[in-house]
């Protein structure tokens, strides 16, 4: 295989650029959706929540997946110091994903759904994603000479790719009547696959963020260390068996719930480690805070702590009974997707785009302003969801329940806070994302112009 050069980098950049555009697109639908909470019935006939929610969810899911792939593919080459096995396959995979994402968005506009969480598109659109993922697995494995003595992030990338493929396939078992014809069985298998699937894309992202951390601190020992692998195996154990908390109230087999409850308690070890390393984390943060990428890693650290704390509490069935079906679950999802996944991915994208013809540092001032707006508004956003969740929790446990619509009206102050903070969150993210997109477009334009002049002079 050829040594690593910038050849083919533009294909990988396409993954990241598409992902950044999808993030902006998803944010717009997120704002629209939150407006529909404040003004129920808004755009009821043209763009009801039935369309707005999948547009928001799918765009954000594809932001995470495509940016996760782009980051992993970039760092994979930097790690092996060789180019990807086949750029043609990578381009084919990109074209498949792009066409599928566009088709999915069109299907939502037309009101054609498959009606499952995360994947609300018609099921036939899952086929190209599945085959595209097979190409990725093939390309990934062929890009390595061997898997001996690899750092923890390589293990995480491989785990992420393999488990996504498995759980994605599993999430479509409902197409078979054997799995579909009982609601309890269907929901059990559905949430088994979803719980592990989220864990698999987290593996891709966390792997890349560990690579980035090594790069910033210029210390590779950590990713080969015993503790890194202990944490990896704890994560893998949870990915495989800690999904039952989604269905504690479902009348399914008790052993599923008991296994999940027990496994989820191993996350206390992760919380304990964060607390134990707190001082060290803070001093590293102080040392590297001037590095743009590191700022986002540090913010993600803070959100890992909050989200993990909430996750452990929600994994206790007695507490889950109160939080399940309330906005506290949404708070947890938002903390994980924005506070952890998006912050880690932005840290990585800043690093990846730093070798463009314009350095990201040129836009440091606006990105830092965006960073603070995002962090403060995300905290308000998160707290407003927790507040709404607590209120709904009290409603669903009260003996004399008022009607659902009255309860929702009572939640409107939280929804207003949630909309305003969500709006600023989107503004802040735009301030970070826009310079990144601009850099790539300006560089591409410069490259095209210089090729044109070379062509003319010849």
């Amino acid at each position: 295989m050829e040594p690593y050069t910038n050849k083919g980098k533009s294909i990988i950049d396409l993954y990241i650029l598409t992902a950044l555009c999808l993030l902006i697109f998803g944010l717009l639908w997120g704002i629209t959706g939150s407006l529909q909470y404040i003004f129920p019935g808004l755009m009821r006939d043209r763009f009801s929540f039935q369309k707005v929610r999948p547009l928001h969810v799918s765009s954000v899911v594809f932001w995470i997946i495509l940016a996760g792939l782009g980051s992993m593919l970039t760092y994979l080459q930097q790690h092996t110091k060789r180019v990807i096995y086949s750029y043609r396959l990578l381009l084919l995979q990109y074209c498949i994903f792009l066409l599928t994402v566009v088709s999915i968005i069109i299907s939502y506009f037309l009101g054609r759904f498959g009606g499952r969480e995360y994947w609300e598109h018609p099921p036939y659109l899952a086929l190209p994603i599945f085959f595209g993922w097979i190409f990725l697995l093939f390309n990934f494995v062929k890009s390595f000479g061997g898997f001996k003595n690899q750092p923890v992030y390589v293990w995480m990338w491989l785990t992420g790719i393999v488990f996504f493929l498995f759980t994605y396939l599993e999430s479509y078992l409902w197409l078979l009547p054997y799995f579909r014809n009982n609601i309890i069985n269907d929901m059990t298998v559905q949430w088994k696959s979803y719980g592990s699937m989220v864990g698999s894309w987290n593996m891709l992202i966390y792997g890349s963020s560990i690579f980035l951390m090594d790069k910033i601190t210029n210390n590779k020992d950590i990713s080969y260390s015993k503790i890194a692998f202990v944490l990896y195996f704890t994560g893998l154990f949870n990915l495989m068996f800690n999904w039952g908390h989604h269905i504690y109230t479902l009348p399914t087999a008790p052993y599923i719930k008991h296994i999940s409850y027990t496994v989820s308690m191993t996350e206390l070890f992760l919380i304990g480690r964060i607390i134990f390393n707190w001082r060290n984390t803070v001093s590293t943060a102080k040392r590297n805070f001037n590095i743009l990428s590191f700022r986002f890693l540090a913010a993600a650290d803070f959100w890992v702590f909050l989200t993990l704390l909430l996750a452990v509490l929600m994994s206790i069935p007695g507490i889950n009974l109160y939080t399940h079906g309330t906005h506290i679950t949404v708070a947890h999802t938002m903390g994980a997707t924005i506070g952890i996944n998006t912050f880690l991915l932005l840290a990585i994208v800043i690093d990846v785009f730093n070798d463009s013809c314009i350095r990201v540092e040129k836009y440091k001032a606006i990105i830092i302003r965006g960073y603070w707006i995002v962090n403060i508004s995300l905290l308000v956003f998160w707290l407003s969801l927790i507040g709404a969740g607590l209120e709904k929790s009290m409603w669903q446990m009260s003996k004399l329940q008022i009607s659902y619509s009255i309860m929702m009206q009572n939640l409107s102050p939280y929804f207003i806070a949630f909309f305003i903070s969500g709006f600023f969150l989107a503004i802040g993210l735009f301030m970070v994302v826009y310079p990144l997109i601009r850099i790539k477009f300006v560089c591409k334009l410069k490259q095209t112009k210089s090729s044109y002049y070379v062509f003319q002079s010849n």
């Binding site: 009606g115 609601i183 154990f237 109230t249 003996k399």
Partner: protein, 133 residues
């Protein structure tokens, strides 16, 4: 230190456990297979095609704009549900459903209702943190 061999053994052990757990679950699904009516199965497909889950919940899972519908059939009855499905509400759009589609959705909601109770007030919390109904 974790040698490569130890890592592979541990990974194989976990993957093996996961595969056994998965196929054990598939082979003995939590609820004994009960043949549902064709209308209920069609209703489920329609429920998904209309993306009802974006606003409503079943067993607390789904969207939060509308109420949980797990036990709506026994609480509100077929006539009430039909009226909502036929005309929509201030928030829910009119889906232009035919009479047979309404019947299918009713059959599905009846089937869901008979599967159990989603009301969290029907659970008791045990001292070890687990719950039972």
């Amino acid at each position: 230190m974790f040698s490569d061999r130890n890592k592979y053994v541990l990974a194989m052990f976990l993957v093996g456990g996961f595969i056994i757990y998965t196929f054990q679950l598939y082979n003995s699904l939590p609820v004994k297979q009960i043949a549902v009516s064709q209308a209920a199965d069609d209703g489920k497909i329609l429920w998904q095609k209309k993306n009802c889950i974006s606003c409503h919940q079943i067993y607390g899972l789904g969207g939060y704009l509308g109420p949980d519908l797990t036990n709506v059939y026994s609480k509100k009855g077929a006539v009430y549900i039909s009226a909502i499905l036929r005309g929509g509400t201030n928030i829910m759009p009119n889906m232009d459903l035919t009479d047979s589609e309404i019947e299918e959705l009713l059959a599905y909601l009846k089937d869901v209702d008979q599967s159990g109770k989603a009301d969290p007030r029907t659970f008791t919390i045990n001292t070890n943190g687990t719950i039972h109904q």
